[in-house]
Amino acid sequence: MTALAPARVGAGPAAAPPRRSRRETWTALAFLVPSLLGFVLFYFWPTLQGFWLSLTDYSFFADTSFVGLDNYRRMLGDETFWNALLVTVEYVALNIGFQTVLALGLAVLLHRLTQSVVIRGLVLLPYLVANVVVALLWFWMLDAQIGVVNQVLGALGVDAVAFFGSEDWAIPTVAFVNTWRHLGYTALLIFAGLQTIPRILYEAARVDGATEWQMFRRITLPMLRPVLALVLVVTMVGSFQVFDTVAVTTAGGPAEASNVIQYYIFDLAFQRLDYGYAAAVSVVLLVILAVIAFVQLRLARANESDLA
């Protein structure tokens, strides 16, 4: 694990004498105790078990035996797995594209245009509704035959679009629905970051005759880096784990066009009781996510802030 850690150490007090450093280690440990407890008990330990089970043919009730890397070997030739991975990547690309860019724009608008708490509250509204309900609502509004959206399109002379039903539209539609729910949320995260940028920087820039766009490029983006890194990592990890929306709408269909990887894992583990293999797929997903997150953090230089 150590080898994976970002080599660059960013902000924080400059190097201190050894004695204080040791005291700081103890302080850090004390500060970390509750989180450490939660981490080991509820995340680390179950994952360790899951990793072990990925090396077995565990299926809940039958006798379990150790199968080594068989499950991983099986994955190589499993077309459904590769399809699931592909579909998920497509979803992630669409979702991050929409969500992050739109949220950044929205946050800047909220920051530079208006102080209205009401508007800020309004854009967060979708996040207040449970995931499953949001999915159901859009599932119904986007129905090809009786959904309101298609009826409006029909009135405008546009042919009905099978948003959830067609292989081409299923994934973009799921991405849209999730973007609708999370846009305000993501915008608020970025907004919180915008607030930490000292106003004085903008005022100084304006005195120098900078345009809004220049201020965005030169001040907002660089100063926002730690928060943008957070948003990117969280959105990326979250989109890779998309499940609820698919489960209540397309159930992976049509013909696997929206069979995202978490849905495939769920199907393997809880419908077909093939837990050992499902665990192996989960381990692979975990590793992929960890690698991507690590790269993202490195690229975004998330440990540094131009403010400190």
């Binding site: 981490f39 509820f42 995340y43 245009l113 209205s116 009401v118 309900v133 919180a192 607030q195 996510l289």
Partner: protein, 316 residues
């Protein structure tokens, strides 16, 4: 409700506490009109589904689909709200396409408030402690441990769900608040990650100054770091509160009994009670709207705090 504010929405007068925050930076210009148009567009797309929810909630379930895309409720009735709040009899409910089961609103509301408050308090407090250790203290292996914590974001639910359920069962706390709260209480990777990113941005000079005054880490944390990050902390608390409020699968698993059932679980159960695959749409929409109201009020109450905290970190 707040709908009317959208179309008129004049920029609010700046809070008196921070005169510098007046949005005078954008002068009246085509760009500004375009920006407002974009903002209004986003708000409109955000709000339309809510209108559709309201329209559906006020419709009669048995004739709903005959209404097509009519913008008005189909066969207007308060029935859905009445049966969600348990004010309608079984016969009345079934006559309008409901299942006859109601949501014991006030009990579930209490449960949701208790659970979400406990979870938020734990996450924000313990998360802030950990974030401080990761952002402001120097110790060997710090970044590696941080990254390890971060991987908790990526642990697939199928790994954690069963072991955690078994743990709750073995602790003998199934169907208690503790079981719902515990897995989220001590550590949630997002809270730590979020606060760490903000703590990173705080100027180290202030901290050094405090240290010269003889303040220890604990004092620095409570007197300087936390107050300076008040905006992010409130933001996090709000987001996590909503998150906890909307948590579904875990509470369903460990606390399905009535006494500890949360509003979201009740909503899910209500939805699943659909008679033979035909959802009680008006009931579901009414329940959803009602369930969102408490959180909405909370946001309106605390939203102002986020604005007020502007400018704090500018002092450096």
């Amino acid at each position: 409700m707040v709908h009317t504010d959208v179309t008129t929405a004049p920029p609010n007068p700046a809070p008196t506490t921070a005169p510098a925050a007046t949005p005078t930076t954008l002068r009246f210009a085509p760009g500004r009109i375009l920006a407002w148009a974009a903002l209004i567009g986003v708000v409109a797309i955000t709000l339309f589904p809510f209108y559709w929810m309201l329209r559906t909630a006020l419709s009669n379930g048995t004739t709903l689909a005959t209404g097509g895309s009519s913008l008005l409720p189909v066969d207007f009735t308060w029935g859905a709200f009445r049966r969600v709040l348990g004010l309608a009899t079984t016969e009345e409910a079934q006559a309008e396409g409901g299942s006859g089961t109601s949501v014991e609103f006030w009990v579930y509301l209490r449960n949701s408030v208790v659970v979400a408050t406990l979870i938020t308090a734990g996450q924000v407090f313990f998360g802030a402690l950990a974030a401080y250790a990761f952002a402001r203290l120097r110790w060997p292996g710090r970044d590696a441990v941080f990254f390890l914590f971060l991987t908790a974001l990526m642990v697939p639910p199928i790994f954690t769900q069963l072991p955690n359920f078994l743990l709750m069962r073995d602790l003998g706390i199934l169907n208690t608040y503790s079981a719902v709260v515990l897995p989220f209480f001590f550590m949630t990777p997002f809270a730590i990650f979020f606060l760490r990113q903000f703590f990173l941005g705080i100027s180290s000079e202030i901290e050094e100054a405090a240290r010269l005054d003889g303040a220890g880490h604990v004092r620095t944390f409570f007197r300087i770091i936390v107050p300076m990050s008040w905006g992010p902390v409130i933001t996090l608390a709000l987001l996590q509160y909503v998150q906890a409020w909307n948590e579904y699968f875990w509470p369903l698993l460990v606390a399905s009994e009535r006494e500890v059932r949360t509003l979201t679980v009740a909503l899910g159960v209500f939805r699943a009670q659909e008679p033979q695959g035909n959802p009680d749409w008006p009931g579901l929409m009414a329940a959803t709207l009602i369930a969102a109201v408490p959180v909405l009020l909370l946001f309106l109450a605390f939203g102002r705090r986020i604005v007020d905290s502007i400018g704090f970190s500018g002092i450096k």
